[in-house]
Symmetry: C2
Subunit: 669 residues, 2 copies
Amino acid sequence: MANHQIQLMNEARARASFDSRELTHLIYGGAEAVQVRNVAFARMEKALHSSATNKLPAVLGEAGRSAQYMDGLQFGQAMLKERLVNGQSVFDFMTPRYYFANASPFGLHFLMFIPALKLLGSPEQLAHWVPLAESGKILGTYCQTELGHGTFLRGLETTAIFDKVADEFIIHSPTISSTKYWPGGLGYSSSHAIVMARLIISERDYGVHPFIAQLRSLEDYTPLPGVELGDIGLKLGHNSNDNGYAVFTHFRIPRTQLLMRNAQVLRDGTYIAGTNSKLMYGTMLFARRIIIDSVYFQLAQAATIAIRYSTVREQGNVAFDASESAEVPILMFKSQQYRLFTIMARSFALLFASKHAGALYEEMIAQQANGNNSMLPHVHATLAGLKAYATQTSADGAEDGRKCCGGHGYLAMSGFGNLVPTVTAMATLEGENYVMYQQVARFLVKCASSRREDLHDDLQYLLSPVKTSISAGADFLDPGIQSDVLLQRALCLVDEYAEALRVSQTRDRLSPAQAWNLHMMGLISAARAHIEYVVLDAFITAVRQVKAGPIHNVLQRVCSLFALSCIESPQGLGFVGDRSLSEHHLRRVRTAVNVLLEEILPDAVALTDAWNFSDASLESALGCRDGDVYERMMRWTRQVPLNLAAAKTGGVFRPGFEQYIRPILKGKL
Amino acid sequence: MANHQIQLMNEARARASFDSRELTHLIYGGAEAVQVRNVAFARMEKALHSSATNKLPAVLGEAGRSAQYMDGLQFGQAMLKERLVNGQSVFDFMTPRYYFANASPFGLHFLMFIPALKLLGSPEQLAHWVPLAESGKILGTYCQTELGHGTFLRGLETTAIFDKVADEFIIHSPTISSTKYWPGGLGYSSSHAIVMARLIISERDYGVHPFIAQLRSLEDYTPLPGVELGDIGLKLGHNSNDNGYAVFTHFRIPRTQLLMRNAQVLRDGTYIAGTNSKLMYGTMLFARRIIIDSVYFQLAQAATIAIRYSTVREQGNVAFDASESAEVPILMFKSQQYRLFTIMARSFALLFASKHAGALYEEMIAQQANGNNSMLPHVHATLAGLKAYATQTSADGAEDGRKCCGGHGYLAMSGFGNLVPTVTAMATLEGENYVMYQQVARFLVKCASSRREDLHDDLQYLLSPVKTSISAGADFLDPGIQSDVLLQRALCLVDEYAEALRVSQTRDRLSPAQAWNLHMMGLISAARAHIEYVVLDAFITAVRQVKAGPIHNVLQRVCSLFALSCIESPQGLGFVGDRSLSEHHLRRVRTAVNVLLEEILPDAVALTDAWNFSDASLESALGCRDGDVYERMMRWTRQVPLNLAAAKTGGVFRPGFEQYIRPILKGKL
């Protein structure tokens, strides 16, 4: 018989206005894609013994560093098997539990090692290395970051000095700060790496170039002479990955292991400059593209867990007296609706923005194949900005979803124990977000003084005149109005700070760098405003393409909530004052938001179902589809290793009692 | 010889305009208090072998669940020794590493068990139990929260049925959701607990009452018959504490273990109602008071680590071409200054707000001793609101400080691995923040229609008329103006939503609960605005009391930055539009902020020094006082247990290689 929580969940699910399976197809690109995906997930979960929801997932038990690494190797191996044996690539960047390759020691093999090889290697090099990598005969990672140097490529210190006599490069770490530090899988899992180092010939420094190096024996995996390898220790998350360090001491590789698609070094030491100095950024672009296409899943997972939990968790409102204290599901409270539906809306917004960015990226790749690099600055800025926006939005949303689950959200078994630190990592890796926004701002400032015919459609609006007002009776549920408000904000901010930069340089005679530094916070807010407009525009466009019917209607509401929460939210500051919106407008926005929350409420659980997360992939006692929260929590709690161990010794944790507690009780401190 | 990073740190420290030791005295209440504190910390760190900064702290190594619990027992025991043997109470609520009692299995003994006993026990009960507890002969915790019930006291399900024949109470968990769940130290560390349960006599339910129960044998710590005890498993943080669960099955305690200072049950089953039904909230008030007085230390730790790291970490600005790419300490970038100095300013703001709240609390306790409870509603609202504001501010700030350290901030050895999850826990425990703000809002709405003579000084402003504008030439560095802006925002919002509630009830005929739900988000923003005004007011008042001189000047700047970041920050939305500030004003605010950042920069490191954190208590390779970041990181990295183990087997992690990697390389998947 269904208990009370299961009943609440069934009732909530039955209220939906649409068929969640149809929306699933829209998310993943059709019924067939969903079917293939479901089969792959089922196979993976079988291999990992993770499908039984009555068992505490092993990784939530004892979870020491080595155990977590072994766990990562296990699902990393299963992921490779999917690719190599079953031809399934969905797990290249996702795993059932973690939804991102950074969790697996072999994640960078597909995310960066192979793409970088393909991008940077000459045809002969590709012919040699790619088959080895794609068959799993070698396992690679990508070595760029150093202990003292991150995103700033030109600051790297590792040297690769050409030894003409031996026809070799000597890779060397000249300082402590040049230690390669952070690459995923570098500690103990990778046999090879692409190493970024300064190419030096006859004492002349040609700047940073890519090299491929074998780091470990393929027989017994001992490090080759001249390289010290190790793990960088516990992290806030991703401990299933052995992010590592490498210290090179006059480590030799053949000259032919400079990746030579672009620049080349000949046998006699002649350096032939490449024609495309931007090629090296390709790997970064690809990685950011994948990040953007991953984090909204994590955000949607957070929304799923928290909405389902809020559907069955009951509480009275403590702000009232006993007379009004009937307990209701906490999703009935407006603050809970606002927070959770907004998180859900953002996950859809990022989904559609990612599809938009993916199309742009593919268009650029196609043009580049024909030698046309003209889209690069636009795509670079869009991916940098979306990377910052999507990761920050997802990190904030996941953490707020955690808080929406109250104390229980703090348990590892809530699912947030892995989710929050995993998604929050994305805000700093592969480009710190404040740096990303500055790159967008720099691009926008340039665009603002460009000719119309040089600008991509997405950027045309930057040449429009700033409008001053929106009518008092504006309908904020109209997507046209919503889009216009975000457009105006972006336009105003870009205008304001482009002008501020100009004035600081001309009137106040600051250098470009000084002027930039002075207006940095404003420029970042302009970049963010632009990206938010791009995201909304992608969402609105996607909804327009859905045929009339229940799916269209629910997405329309979710899209409106996203738009209005951007306008009304803390970041909405730029809208008000002398600009387009008055306090009167904001009151209308707040009223519209309340209407939307009311309309979305019956569809809340169906929206979580639409993402089609398997219970195993959520790894959450709070977020399972059936809503059976308390029974499952107690079942999992009783399986905690500490409890199983104590049960064998009379319900006492003996080592702790003997060593610490007994002396206290006996007064023997 | 000092390396480059140490030199950068020395130079930065030398630029200070004030003596950091003087500010230390101000923070901790005088030179003598600082001296006593330093001695206690040195003794504690010696006991825990944690003072050597060239060693990787053990807890950052392997860190499985049991190891973390053993670690918690170790410092919990050391903490008890400080109290019982050395008479030092500073560690009752702080430990050298974690700065909060929730990290230790014995933390609730002093934080809740003893205070609750004192508050709720009759004189005879105190005479019996308090000496046992204060000597450490029993170790107690506080059992309120249940699996299905949190802050909402009236929802608790555990029953205590009076058995007149045996003169006993029968404590029982009638449902799964009534399982006691979460109390710190309940799993395996506590011998006794105060248990909140519904008192039932002859089938009549008298509501929730406090009972004291022995849970484990004092001889061998086995659970007594009728209670199942265990750990609730891994959490996002605080894994050194065995937060636990308890299932009671007709568990019997003597009638005299109902804590009877208030209500009593006589031998014949007669129930004598207490005169003070609010007494039970006293423990919650005390716990919130301690939380408010703890979290700003964690925020200050985050600021300390990130400012020191940013002083020695160098990077070029990637937004520029190579020609402008000189590497500078990242603290030179305005975005880094804005984020970090704001975090530092908030830690000072919360310090002074906590001192203000502490004084209020003490005043109330003194009045209550004379039978006067009139301050309770005000103190309750202030502590609830400050609890929400302080914990959210600290959690957000700690996480942003982590992000300011880029990728390295994600390492456990950054110090953020413990800090971020520890402080973020505070936002949900002991009262979820959105619930806390609603309690404040409810109080404010009442006050807004009170008579002036019934309001405490802090609340008088609620009866002022709303002003409409601030002059165009307003000096935003003037504390009077700053305070006025925050006051006006709070006043407007309280006014607006008190009126909205009234209209919804009278015109739209909603019930009080419906009206409240409709305007919930607005009411929460009104409460937050009030609390932010209270915090700024406390900061301004504290700065005024510092005598003229360098300390006064630096605190004045920090206070101004706090005020202006409240106005200009995302939460500043309520200032604009039809209200008091225009876009023109905001531009003036931004200019003033830039001036403040410039002025605070030379004092940044000295401000971190003023908090007087020992290196051991920061547990951070990035935040040590000497600035020697890279050398220390590599030293600690090489001590990672995984690396020490692999070094013994040729630099290979054998179990992983044999089980997972070799089969991949050999194509045997």
